[in-house]
């Protein structure tokens, strides 16, 4: 981008980039990109490297030559880790499906309808959105205890769905704002009911948006730590919490923690790679 704007600078006053030698701007651009990329990629690289080292070498990662798959084998033999993977997967998937069911129609209402019901809904989710994420945790802990759903799927799902609705209804509203409402009007005239116009015309047009949102929802829940830490215990271990438990009173098992972390990144990485187009679209709104 920088390179393009500089080379097509035209008649504007020469700036910093114009003072560079031919090709200099492009080189500088790539250098900056590489630096930023390095900043983000290096910890991941280090993590992968650590996960392949035996326990006694984790502090000498940069100069050791020994590699092992043992950490992965050890971690996968731990029942709690396997359970945590399953739990995280189930919670992320269920939260995504259930919250989308509400978020899609909620976003549609925010985009298309005005009136007391829509305004009240708007006000409610806006209010909840304004509350800092962290301040939800303690009340939710007491509520789940009171309802007897602490440390259960439901106890974790419901708060996640609530958060998704408050945060992602806006993104969904943005997607629907981008869809021409006259298409739905045409459908009404073509014989659809209001619901039919939503289901058969607006919804199929919003599929890219829904896909983006599904990915964001899933990744959010998969990566989420705070709710998982406070609202679960031994019955429903979540992978992000289990990972942190490699820090214990006898020390930190960096090698095992890294192996778990790498495996945790796997599904997120796959989803991001394949759904990249949708994720970017979702983040743009």
């Amino acid at each position: 981008m920088t390179a393009a704007t500089t080379t097509h600078g035209g008649s504007r006053t020469p700036g910093f980039f114009d003072a560079l030698a031919p090709g200099g701007a492009r080189a500088l651009f790539f250098l900056s990109v590489t630096a930023v990329l390095f900043l983000f990629a290096f910890p991941v690289f280090w993590l992968v490297l650590t996960s392949l080292k035996p326990g006694w070498e984790v502090f000498y990662v940069h100069r050791s030559t020994e590699f092992t798959w043992g950490n992965y084998v050890d971690v996968l033999q731990e029942e709690i880790v396997l359970n945590a993977f399953i739990n995280s997967f189930v919670i992320a998937t269920a939260a995504t499906i259930l919250s989308l069911a509400v978020t899609v129609s909620s976003g549609y209402m925010l985009s298309r309808f005005r009136g007391p019901i829509a305004n009240t809904w708007f006000g409610t989710i806006y209010l909840f959105r304004c509350i800092p994420y962290i301040s939800w945790v303690l009340p939710l802990y007491f509520v789940t205890q009171w309802l007897g759903i602490f440390d259960s799927y439901l106890g974790l799902l419901l708060p996640h769905i609530a958060v998704h609705i408050c945060f992602f209804s806006w993104i969904m509203k943005g997607f629907f704002d981008g869809i021409d409402p006259s298409m739905e009007h045409a459908a009404l005239i073509d014989g659809c009911t209001r619901w039919g116009a939503f289901r058969r015309v607006a919804l199929p047009s919003a599929i890219p948006g829904i896909a983006a949102l599904a990915i964001l929802c899933w990744l959010w829940t998969w990566n989420e730590f705070l709710f998982a830490l406070i609202l679960t215990s031994h019955n429903t271990p979540m992978i992000t919490v289990v990972m942190a438990q490699f820090v214990h009173e006898l020390g930190t098992e960096w090698n095992l923690m890294s192996a778990t972390a790498v495996m945790t990144m796997g599904p997120a990485l796959i989803i991001t790679i394949f759904g990249q187009k949708y994720v970017i679209k979702g983040l743009r709104i």
């Binding site: 298409m183 045409a186 009404l188 005239i189 009911t193 039919g196």
Partner: protein
């Protein structure tokens, strides 16, 4: 086929009164064009007929049945939108078939109807494409096809050509006219373009601020504007307005302004005599002013100075300062050499003078 009747139709959005007491009868197979500036209530009126807007007051009936409380799907009409409103996730075929499928028409009949509509509009080759693969003109044809495929009682058009470029718009205007001949259906056409309204409408309805200003054939609207607004809105270049005073001399009436004195034709005497000594607005279309000395008995000449000339090739438009105001004269021979600031003699065609009451802005007839 059906007639559409609007009786005292009103639309209010809170404190805003968007459509005021509209009364209009669109006869069976008639094509009526609603024209007016932005915000005049023409689209809102159309959307009330379609059922996309609730009616705040009055009744709308289609084919003798009051449709006020009917949803759009039960009104048996079709609509073309400004931005085509094609279903982007469906092929052209599915777009055309959508309305028929909703009405549970057998697939075989749907196929025949879609082919017929596609044949009429010349879009048979496009049936398998998605809307985004089509040009603006092609998309507009598909939108028209979606209308004719269902044989509805009424067609509604909401500025269907305004997203097209000028050339395509002119072509589509002709095609719409031809389509009318092939598929005669009661139609209401909303536009802000007076050329579309004049060329397409059997009758034209001019609207302003939610009020209907005048209903009439294109020529009635053009030749006998009911008020100052209609006279100014319809016609390009617009009607010239000159503030004059009606004066009487030797029993004859004159319209007088600074350096301007024109005899009012005798047949207008009765209407204008009550205005003697009072200011009125004189309206004259640019093509009804000619360069040169009029016949002396007409007493219709005055002088002006050329301000601006606009060469169109087929004619010359000239802006002239006369009678204390700026006036536009059209249909001047493009070969005529006129220089800026040159003083010219002008004469009015006395049979085409319009007079308007200064207060009510209504035509004095």
């Amino acid at each position: 086929m059906a007639e559409v009747v609007l009786s005292n139709v009103n639309k209010r959005y809170g404190a805003v009164h968007a459509v005021k007491d509209v009364n209009l009868t669109v006869n069976d197979e008639e094509f009526v064009a609603l024209v007016g500036p932005s915000g005049c209530g023409k689209s809102t009126t159309l959307r009330m007929v379609a059922g996309l807007e609730a009616i705040s007051g009055g009744t709308i009936s289609i084919g003798g049945r009051v449709v006020n409380d009917l949803p759009p799907k039960d009104r048996d009409l079709a609509m073309v939108f400004q931005n085509y409103a094609l279903y982007q996730h469906m092929t052209v075929y599915d777009n055309l078939a959508f309305g028929l499928r909703n009405r549970k028409v057998p697939e075989g009949t749907i196929g025949k109807e879609v082919d017929r509509a596609a044949g009429i509009l010349g879009i048979t080759d496009l049936l398998k494409r998605k809307p985004r693969q089509l040009s603006g003109g092609q998309q507009q044809r598909v939108a028209l096809g979606r209308c004719i495929v269902r044989h509805p009682k009424v067609f509604l058009f909401d500025e269907p050509l305004s997203n097209l470029d000028a050339n395509l718009r002119a072509n589509m205007r002709v095609e719409l006219k031809q389509l009318r001949e092939r598929v005669p259906t009661t139609s209401i056409y909303v536009t802000h373009d007076q050329v579309e309204a004049m060329t397409l409408g059997d009758r034209v309805v001019v609207m302003r601020d939610g009020w209907v200003q005048q209903v009439g054939t294109p020529l009635e609207i053009y030749n006998e504007p009911r008020n100052l607004f209609v006279a100014g809105f319809m016609g390009s270049p617009p009607t010239n307005f000159i503030d004059v005073t009606v004066a009487e001399s030797d029993g004859k009436l004159y319209a007088e302004a600074k350096n301007f004195r024109v005899r009012i034709p005798q047949n207008r005497d009765a209407a204008l005599r009550p205005y003697v000594g009072r200011p009125v607005t004189l309206g004259i279309r640019p093509e009804h002013i000619v360069l040169g000395e009029p016949a002396p008995e007409l007493e219709a000449g005055f002088d002006g100075g050329i301000n601006v000339t606009e060469q169109l090739g087929s004619e010359l438009l000239v802006g002239i300062t006369a009678a204390g105001t700026e006036i536009m004269v059209s249909r001047i021979d493009p070969q005529q050499g006129l220089t800026l600031h040159e003083s010219v003699r002008l004469s009015l065609n006395p049979t085409h003078l319009h007079f308007f009451d200064r207060d009510s802005e209504e035509a004095i007839v």
